[in-house]
Symmetry: C2
Subunit: 367 residues, 2 copies
């Protein structure tokens, strides 16, 4: 009990940056060791995926520099240590000390994990970070991963994603029936309930699949990541925003045993490098999407928006999916209830602040 | 020329976290020094100001831990090394190695500085971070501070602020005429053009000033910071959102000479600690405001919104203020043009993404 409580307190202190210099000085043997510790980081991305593989590499590099070379992190792209969808298992088993991915990829371990990426009509990037930091989210996340010996750190957010590239226009909920669409996570579940067929394909497969008509639509991330796929030629309608990922969080995960074996100052190095990476990654997506959206307009991509009737149908199906998710496991019940309560507060605040502020600005600029 | 170019490249590398472990290992003398370097951080806040003084202290502590005690930072609240509004000058002159504040406080040095905090109808927290990271903002910021021997690092954002506490309702632009209002920065300039009288008071002075009728209204930050001031008793209308600070950035500033005297790894420590602090601070404001807004509703504070006619008048006056600001100095011209171009792109993107996403969610929850 004491041991466990201490661990939780230490984790909280680590997260809040409260470990004093004493912690660092308490491990002189490690500080002066000449043989660096080498850790493996399994990632769910190709090494060069913007904001994903590049973010993982950046965190690894920062850890190396800040540790003065005492802790070196070898970054492995998806497929090297294991498939992308097994990063969590690799860290849980100790086959990798670190992982970089997105919580919903491992939702087969516990459906509760979905909430730590994001859910349909969920939280924006900023709100999600706020939920983790002061709304109780981080403690729930740590609790959900604890049975698997995995410790989660927030590593940034894609921001509002796009609904994706469609070969034909979507006018009513009936247009979704029979649609074969590349879409991941809970968004796929929602689409299924409206009669669509969600499929999972990698980004490099999308062009051929849309061109041949194997699939009718495909969502990937947002303008920054999507534009280079050149999908406008084969799927001329680019729908924005998405209903299912208005913020999708990234994570760095660490094996509990590996983390506990480090001196306090190197634990702080990992926490700080990841938190800095979160800021850099969220900013890169935000700025990258803004610049890419401008390019998209200049390239005459047809930007479209789901009409109200379609959004209503998606919202109803999403509510049903969430209601089922809430019953999927005891942990999912606990996280669902906490997430939904915070979402209501976040939405009420956004309706009084960010919402009108954006509308006022848009009107001021158009004047 | 070469020296300056190298400096710029090193700064860019530092910002992007690209300094390799080689940099760290190149300074063994400092790495093993037993006498810590002690730096002074001047701040523009009381030590316990939430998200401000606390954020400065957290960055200082992280620097101490990550440097293994080699670099210790003493944090000085406003008034100790000099007045709050002189933090920039203290760092510029070398009286302090570090400063924590907000760029618009030093706009007397160059009006261009205003853009690095935020301007009326400007950028949200996420957009501002995106502008700095990939939209060219950081390079301009460094250029603007360069003549003063000061290097800026982004340290987070308050998010959408509130328009503040008003003793009476604001129905038309005429209601602003003659209003004595505590409001800072460019927002004050805008109010002045509409016939109000902007004044500057510290947060602890607001209650008495509103109670006695010395002032008619007062903006401070947002729900998280405002609620504890208990102003609802003396100014019953709480207007949200603000028109002038929909995102207000914080900064860590470092004296150029002091920074150049550090080995590369300690420069990386400062950059990473500040970037991590930016993530923590923005999240604390976001979550703190959401929770405080909920409390505010339960405490029956009367939340109000400026009517359209008032917003239009504020937008017109803001455009005039910005047009004048664009002519205020060569640097202000350059930054103004870049900022305005990015704002147009950010606003177009938000109108297609964050705006409808927030509206859809709000409708989905209310169903």
């Amino acid at each position: 009990m004491t041991g466990r409580g201490d661990g939780a307190n230490r984790r909280t202190a680590l997260r809040l940056g409260l470990l004093g210099a004493a912690g660092a000085l308490a491990a002189p043997a490690v500080v002066r060791a000449d043989t660096p510790v080498i850790w493996r980081m399994a990632t769910a991305w190709p090494a060069d995926a913007p904001g994903l593989g590049t973010a993982a590499a950046s965190i690894a590099q920062t850890i190396g520099v800040l540790s003065g070379g005492r802790l070196k992190v070898e970054v492995h792209p998806a497929g090297v240590l294991g498939p992308a969808m097994q990063v969590f298992d690799l860290v849980s088993s100790g086959a990798a000390e670190l992982g970089h991915g997105s919580p919903y990829y491992w939702q087969a371990r516990d459906p509760a994990f979905n909430f730590f990426t994001g859910v349909p009509f969920g939280l924006t990037a900023t709100e999600h970070a706020g939920w983790l930091a002061v709304g109780g989210g981080q403690a729930l996340w740590e609790k959900a991963y604890e049975p698997f010996g995995v410790v989660p750190f927030y590593a940034g957010n894609s921001g509002v994603q796009a609904a994706g590239w469609f070969r034909r226009e979507i006018r009513t909920p009936d247009d979704l029936r029979g649609l074969v669409i590349r879409i991941s996570g809970l968004g796929g579940e929602v689409m299924k309930r409206l009669g669509a067929t969600p499929v999972l394909l990698g980004s490099t497969e999308l062009y051929a699949a849309l061109d041949s008509g194997t699939i009718d639509a495909a969502e990937w991330i947002g303008p920054w990541n999507d534009l280079d796929l050149r999908l406008a030629r084969v799927a001329p309608f680019y729908y924005m925003p998405s209903f299912h990922e208005i913020g999708a969080a990234l994570e760095l995960i660490v094996g509990r045993k590996a983390l506990d074996g480090l001196p306090d100052d190197l634990r702080q190095v990992i926490a700080t490098a990841t938190q800095a990476g979160a800021a850099a990654t969220t900013a890169a997506f935000a700025g990258g999407n803004i610049l890419a959206f401008d390019r998209l307009a200049r390239e005459n991509v047809r930007v479209a928006r789901f009409p109200e009737g379609v959004v209503t149908a998606l919202a109803e199906a999403s509510a049903a999916v969430l209601a089922d998710l809430a019953k999927a496991s005891p942990m999912a019940t606990e996280v669902h209830d906490a997430f939904i309560a915070f979402r209501a507060q976040a939405s009420a605040y956004a309706a009084a602040s960010e919402g009108p502020a954006l509308a006022w600005r848009e009107a001021a600029i158009r004047r």
